[in-house]
Chain length 522, copies 2
Amino acid sequence: MTDGTPTTMNGAESLVRTLVAGGVEVCFTNPGTSEMHFVAALDRVEGMRCVLCLFEGGATGAADGYGRMADKPASTLLHLGPGLSNGLANLHNARRARTPIVNIVGEHATYHREYDAPLTSDIEGLAAPVSAWLRTGMSAAEIGADGAAAIAAARTAPGQIATLILPANTAWDPGTGIAPVPAVPERALASDDAVAAAARALASGEPVLLHLGDRAVRGEGRVIADRIARKTGAHLMAMTSNARIDRGAGTVPIERLPYPIDQAIEALKGFRHIILIGATQPVGFFAYPGKPSLLAPEGSTTITLATPGEDQIDALERLAEAVAAPPAEPIAAAARPSLPTSGPLDQDTIGQVLGALIPDNAVICDESITTGRNFFALTRDAAPHTWLQLSGGAIGLGIPMATGAAVACPDRKVINLQADGSGLYTAQALWTQARERLDVVTLVWSNRSYAILRAELANVGALNPGPKAIGMLSLDDPAVDWVSLARGFGVDGRRVETLAAFIDAFQHALAKPGPYLIEVSL
Amino acid sequence: MTDGTPTTMNGAESLVRTLVAGGVEVCFTNPGTSEMHFVAALDRVEGMRCVLCLFEGGATGAADGYGRMADKPASTLLHLGPGLSNGLANLHNARRARTPIVNIVGEHATYHREYDAPLTSDIEGLAAPVSAWLRTGMSAAEIGADGAAAIAAARTAPGQIATLILPANTAWDPGTGIAPVPAVPERALASDDAVAAAARALASGEPVLLHLGDRAVRGEGRVIADRIARKTGAHLMAMTSNARIDRGAGTVPIERLPYPIDQAIEALKGFRHIILIGATQPVGFFAYPGKPSLLAPEGSTTITLATPGEDQIDALERLAEAVAAPPAEPIAAAARPSLPTSGPLDQDTIGQVLGALIPDNAVICDESITTGRNFFALTRDAAPHTWLQLSGGAIGLGIPMATGAAVACPDRKVINLQADGSGLYTAQALWTQARERLDVVTLVWSNRSYAILRAELANVGALNPGPKAIGMLSLDDPAVDWVSLARGFGVDGRRVETLAAFIDAFQHALAKPGPYLIEVSL
């Protein structure tokens, strides 16, 4: 508070102090001129770690990874409408993962907007599709309270994106200090009717699926669901994509609804009752000609035991009681998978290597897309770990999400399983991993194509594609050199083309603090 | 039309054929599942060049560069809301540059949207802020006509962004073939009152500024403006950022309104009348505490002779006639600047090298930010060339814009003057340059910082920044290795640290077809 900085606390400092007091300890940022007072305030406030990103998609994806692991919001700091725009795709993912995030988006001073300067745009319009809470600050006197309201909104179950637009003058005018965070409502409880309906389905003698999402799928929820399943014969299945599953040896195993639509329909075919617990109803990821949008079998019933916003653990406990489920039994830890000793370097052997080498307590950030279809099964008996997936289908999350997860969990190894086409969206986040000395191993599945789209061409009925269509799915001319890219961003790495070389490189990367990147040639 | 493809023309093919018939010959794309029928249709239609981009910001920025040089729209093909989101920042720039673009954004089938699949989002909400024309296709029967309307909207003066959202079933259901493009309205003429008011100001004997933008600044407009200036003593000045200026030896020289606010105010200080011809009124790029938003001096009058949407050439001709301006005189070509033979490698010597070596008819894509503040003046007498600037302030345009300009102008050398921090937003576009064998030389000004923000910290009154604030503006830990990055994307390059090495590398790059990248260490 010396050296020419304001002697009264300005709006920016009020906001930063409010964020810190409200438990927001990390800011993933790519600032610009309109955010300079916020940046300057960071120097005067203890307790906010600033993580610079080269691109806003890196900042928002990192905030997603952080929020999933920390179970509390990080903030972002984005530069006006274009900065927000660059972060929107990963905010879309975060919205689908129900990750708490406090977005701070800089804006022109309130009185300047009418002049339509080049960077002026409709920030509220851009932010609305991803934001559960959205407000433009009106004055520096209120901006602390605005920030406090944003924190409360972000922390409201099941986790939300709160976007506070920060006009420059609300940052530089005199503020009013730390504002208290309003009370965050508890998760609502599932209704007794929902519990009774689920219990009736489980008592029907007909095949029942417990479809788990949100908190119900993580770890604790699966234990209760497993008690119910053992008592009733119900089947457990996670959604196709899940924000976070704590899994591996000693945990309740769970499979996921397959992504390919024909396999998904097949997986659900036999069920007469589908009970949703933190999950949403199974729907096609896309529409396909002649195939249904709703994947539950005709004639089946769908029962919502607990929505993503409700207390799923409580609902599971009450359902377990209703069906008189036995107490939890320890899960016998199966033998740790062993390393494959020979064979090609392919999806199956890679999955086996992961199963054998995932270290205890690792965090897996999975944007494997096609290459990883079998990884989940092959790592079921790996050392206990946490698995994060791409929840919203907006590719380009993996590297940023791993970055944020590593910031949240400095004592855990983070392993990013990364499809190459997707990774090329936001590879800049590797630089942040180097800058922050984050312990991340990035495994890039280098198949040099948008492999998923080759199958999708057939799925939508576009058979026998010609050279132009195939060209639009191919990334082999030129081949991307991921080791060069990583080096460009300050991350060491190597390229492997054999199973033995992959094992050696992965063991090397696990043994030393990261970041490190391995380009796995497929 | 064999091999299992539909035997009737589907909606996608109707749309693609409509685009080609309407003069849209290039599609910058990063497609996904919902766009597969559009992609498949490209195989059945001649005349549409498909340019694959690794990231949608590359596609939209390339469409901007293409449209500025071709004076007609390219199309983009983007994957649902997230794909559009990734392209929004450069669409913001294109909107400010008034570049015609036909955006095609894939969407779930109309009947699938209600199920809120993971990729579902409010695409219209996201598109509205950048789109002058926006429509969601309702049926395959109408999608061709929708595309034709989009073309007409994009081509409407001064050039607009038209966004057509393409639900998957409007692509795969039977279409109705090529739809004719509606008539595009001519540019409106400036009013007689506006011409008279401008003429009165010029006759007042008081200092007058002719502030030029859009078509008035390109080349032909400057010739007429120069006639008026020679007759009346008026001063010519372009906007700070301009979509396109054709300049160099033999053209009417023009300076630009400076970016730094104090310099901009100083540059306008003496004028009593500011006549806008395709330009908008001078406003601060940002608001700054204690500084005005409107930069015109108090007491001055601002006269709009012709808006960006009006016929500025006609308006200038009528004004020239009103003031009895003399005919145009040839501009004496000054001596070509000579190469500096000694000195440090800095902004001034780089500018001199550019002035000496810019080849005849080159296209300069300028995202130099701070490093390039003097380049415009130092290249005034270079060989004739075209200069494109960042119009909307959303950084990350340079590499994509150069890519699109090179697609539009295969016979012209494209030179991208690229700030490093900005270039790191969308460096993936280098890959498209390699894939398409585009003749682009990228010169990266590697100062390893957001240098502009260091000045802006002071401008907004945040003096004496501390280590956190300075850290947020520094890109030196780790230092980005641009030559490695370029190699990773398949583009050759080298790093230079001396003036002699820069000259040698630039001459090397100019002598061979690109792409090529030179990292210029500052």
